[in-house]
């Protein structure tokens, strides 16, 4: 991490948080997606944003990255507003979207060249990092193949490489493990740990409770666009279910879906009783 970046992070630590979201509201027409969400991500932590489908996770991440404008509320990344200075914010973070969408007719080489050029990376650094990441994620054999011909998992790896290549202080990852094989998934998780050990920060969204439980230093559970619980997994355990509860149980409890799940399972069993 460069001294400039480290200074920026130090400055942020003194100021409080890498990401600050206050009373965030986002409506799509009349449809509310996020309703008064507030949370913070501090340096050195992986903040997991959990929630059922349609809870507003992806919308929140898109607003933080400057891809969407909020309807109301304040968002800042390293003290910079993604609404007013989206380009500056984007230069400080790496983002892996939920649905990885790349340039299908470019090869991996051409795609990484494009990303490195737009990010104005130093050619020598870009080459060293690209080479190592390509080796780590084992995509070298596809280096000159058009992205459209690659499997979903390989495309996901390319998106991860593109997000990591410029070594950003902040990573925003929306379901990043989707499609990754066991080896790549492990390497990626270890790299994320290394990233926060050096003072970086990660905002992470996932449906997979096991991943969240093992990776996240703190989680925020959102439902219907609102934060319904926040803390470390241990804190949430103590607060809600007591020792031994899994994150899945905590999640179902706070989203008030525990009873609903039990009822639904009973109904399904009833419906499928007849062979």
């Amino acid at each position: 991490m460069s001294s400039k970046k480290a200074a920026k992070i130090k400055e942020t630590v003194m100021g409080g948080a890498v990401i600050e979201v206050k009373n965030l509201v986002k409506n799509y027409g009349d449809k509310p997606a996020v309703t008064g969400l507030s949370f913070e991500v501090k340096p050195g932590e992986i903040y997991g944003l959990l929630g059922p489908n349609g809870a507003g996770k992806t919308t929140t991440l898109k607003i933080v990255t400057g891809l969407l404008d909020p309807t109301e509320g304040d968002v800042s990344v390293f003290g910079v507003s993604p609404v007013d200075e989206a380009v500056k914010v984007k230069s400080m973070l790496g983002y892996v979207p939920e649905n990885v969408q790349l340039y299908d007719s470019l090869s991996i080489r051409e795609f990484l060249q494009f990303v490195a050029s737009i990010r104005r990376m130093d050619p020598a650094t870009a080459n060293t990092r690209a080479r190592e990441l390509i080796k780590a994620f084992d995509v070298g054999k596809y280096f000159d193949t058009a992205i459209m011909a690659l499997s979903a998992g390989t495309k996901q790896k390319v998106a991860v490489i593109a997000a990591l290549m410029h070594n950003p202080s902040l990573l925003i990852l929306d379901e990043p493990m989707t499609g990754l094989d066991v080896r790549s998934s492990r390497i990626f998780k270890d790299h994320l740990t290394f990233h926060i050990q050096r003072g970086g920060a990660i905002l992470f969204s996932t449906h997979i409770m096991e991943v969240a439980e093992h990776i996240c230093t703190r989680v925020g559970i959102i439902d219907h666009g609102k934060l319904v619980a926040e803390g470390t997994v241990g804190e949430l355990r103590n607060l809600i279910h007591g020792a031994g509860a899994s994150l899945e149980e905590i999640f179902l409890k706070v989203t008030e879906e525990e009873a609903g799940v039990a009822d639904t399972v009973r109904m399904l069993e009833e419906a499928f009783k007849e062979k």
Binding site: Y103, D104, A130, A146
Partner: protein, 553 residues
């Protein structure tokens, strides 16, 4: 499965193909959810599909009616009928090929039959649904196309049997066109679209794309002029009756034209029988039968291919390419990176690659047209510039569309929309430089009336940049609300048409200024070129000002 059921299901598949194809070509599947009202966007896209159908039906109808109507200029003898029918089949094949190639992408990228594959349908059911869905994408234009020519032919020649044979052979021709489209599309993706490799291989790829451009767009230009040339072409066709040229009548689709002319021009039944029994006619009939059998086989094979395409079983993607040399990336400047990326995306897109070569195609076509004067005239250059400019600004607008799913990548990167738009406008401008270059090359074969023709073509590059800049700025403002639009342009038809009109005006102004100066002020090329240059500078200045005001840096 009953035909009615397959027909009903095919409607859903066809509409889904169009919408899914459009969305995937534009911002990816998540883009609609970010819009204000996805239901409205889908409704607009359905409307856009219907408008497309009506426009194509009108074009096909007009085109199909024009050729037989040209008979009135050349009489109704055997030679005229032979020439007319042969030209129709040649041009119909080329015309259908061009449009099918442009619209094949929707059907291919849709993979809309995939959800049905999990349901208990047989392969035959899926084949039937896929062919009906494909037909449905072109239903109105196809019906208009198949019926108009035989109908007008019958009205003009009063030959019922001739019109029936025309209808039958028209169907065979359409099937051949669909079949050829499929193979050309596959050829484009697997052969022309190659990655990596040596510089010689890349150069060969460029040449193949130029041929592709001439094939897909040149034919559209040519068809318009060939129709008016039919009377002049008649004497050329009489040569085919001479023994040394008679083999040409056995070639597809001249044999169709010959057969129909034979049937339609006979004065009586006995005369028809006599002419049909001549050795030459028997050979032509046999050749036509062979082509009909090939058409039938193409249909049978085409159904299977369409089903596989719709299910995504046939990969319309380039093959895996082994890495060429070491793992190394070359980092460029921001503008250069966007320029190169757009160039690659455009030249690797089956529907849009031809646009990049339009300046060359335009110059060659228009100077070819004015060849009767033996020199390259300024009027021909102005016309070529006008036509090429339209395609180039259209390419700039399309460069937002063919960002495809990658538009979200660009949105994530630290670059302002204004810079992206500026870089995008440089691609058509740079390719327009091939216009003066082509003129210089052509001037070795045919003299220019004035050196200023090359200056005109060079100045027009600035106008193309201005038109592209204003068009892409308007698209980002109206469709993307100041960002790169992730919504398909088809869902904002009004804004899209406005962008096409405004950018065309910006691009045409310098040519119009040149013309007006020459016609009403002074017939001096130097003065006209000077006024054109001033108009272009104003064009560039105004478009840059508007772009700066409309988009954030």
């Amino acid at each position: 499965m009953k035909f009615r059921e397959a027909w009903r299901i095919s409607k859903t598949v066809a509409v889904e193909s169009f919408i899914k194809g459009s969305i995937q070509m534009a911002g990816g599947l998540t883009s609609l959810s970010a819009q204000q009202d996805p239901a409205k966007a889908i409704k607009r896209m359905r409307m856009s599909l219907n408008i497309n159908k009506i426009v194509f039906a009108f074009l096909y109808g007009l085109y199909s009616a024009m050729i037989p109507l040209m008979l009135s200029f050349g009489g109704r003898g055997f030679d005229v009928l032979f020439a007319t029918n042969s030209m129709f089949f040649v041009l119909a094949l080329a015309f259908l090929l061009s449009f099918n190639l442009l619209y094949m992408t929707s059907f291919v990228s849709g993979e809309s039959l995939t959800p049905l594959a999990a349901l208990p349908f047989s392969r035959e059911d899926l084949s039937r649904i896929s062919i009906l869905s494909f037909v449905r994408m072109f239903d109105i234009p196809l019906v208009v196309f198949l019926i108009t020519y035989p109908l007008v032919y019958w009205l003009v020649t009063a030959s019922t049997i001739g019109a029936v044979i025309v209808l039958l052979l028209n169907v065979v021709n359409a099937v051949m066109a669909v079949f050829l489209t499929f193979f050309l599309a596959r050829g484009f993706h697997t052969r022309i679209l190659s990655m990596g490799g040596s510089k010689a291989k890349s150069a060969l790829g460029g040449v193949l794309r130029l041929i592709w451009a001439f094939g897909t767009f040149g034919v559209l230009y040519l068809s318009g002029y060939l129709i008016s040339w039919i009377p002049q072409l008649v004497p050329f066709f009489t040569a085919f009756e001479r023994p040394e040229y008679s083999w040409v009548t056995l070639i597809y689709p001249f044999s169709f034209g010959y057969l129909i002319a034979l049937v339609s021009s006979s004065s009586s039944q006995s005369a028809l029988i006599t002419s049909l029994l001549s050795p030459g006619s028997i050979m032509v009939i046999l050749a036509s039968m062979v082509y009909i059998i090939i058409g039938y086989l193409a249909y049978k094979r085409g159904i299977g291919a369409l089903r596989q395409l719709a299910l995504g079983e046939i990969e319309m993607a380039p093959k895996m390419t082994p890495p060429s040399g070491e793992i190394r990336i070359s980092v460029k400047g921001v503008f250069s990176a966007i320029f190169r990326k757009d160039l690659k995306l455009g030249s690797r897109n089956m529907a849009y690659t031809g646009f990049l070569f339009m300046p060359i195609v335009g110059v060659v076509m228009f100077t070819f047209m004015t060849s009767t004067y033996g020199v390259i005239r300024v009027t021909g250059v102005l016309a070529a510039a006008l036509y090429s400019s339209f395609f180039m600004v259209f390419f700039a607008l399309m460069s937002i569309q063919f960002e495809g799913r990658g538009v979200s990548v660009l949105a994530q990167l630290p670059i302002s929309v204004r810079k992206v738009v500026q870089a995008k406008s440089l691609v058509p401008a740079a390719f327009s430089l091939t216009m003066p270059a082509a003129l210089i090359v052509l001037s070795f074969f045919r003299p220019l009336t004035t050196f200023y023709s090359i200056v005109i073509a060079t100045i027009q590059v600035g106008a193309i940049y201005a038109g592209s800049l204003i068009g892409t700025t308007l698209t980002c403002t109206a469709v993307g609300e100041g960002r790169l639009p992730t919504a398909p342009l088809q869902s904002h038809m009004g804004a899209y048409i406005l962008a096409v009109i405004v950018s065309s005006i910006f691009t045409f102004v310098p040519i119009v200024v040149y013309g007006l100066t020459y016609l009403f002020l002074v017939q001096d090329h130097l003065v006209c070129v000077a006024t054109m240059a001033i108009a272009t500078l104003i064009d560039v200045y105004v478009s840059t000002l508007i772009s700066k005001a409309a988009l954030k840096d």
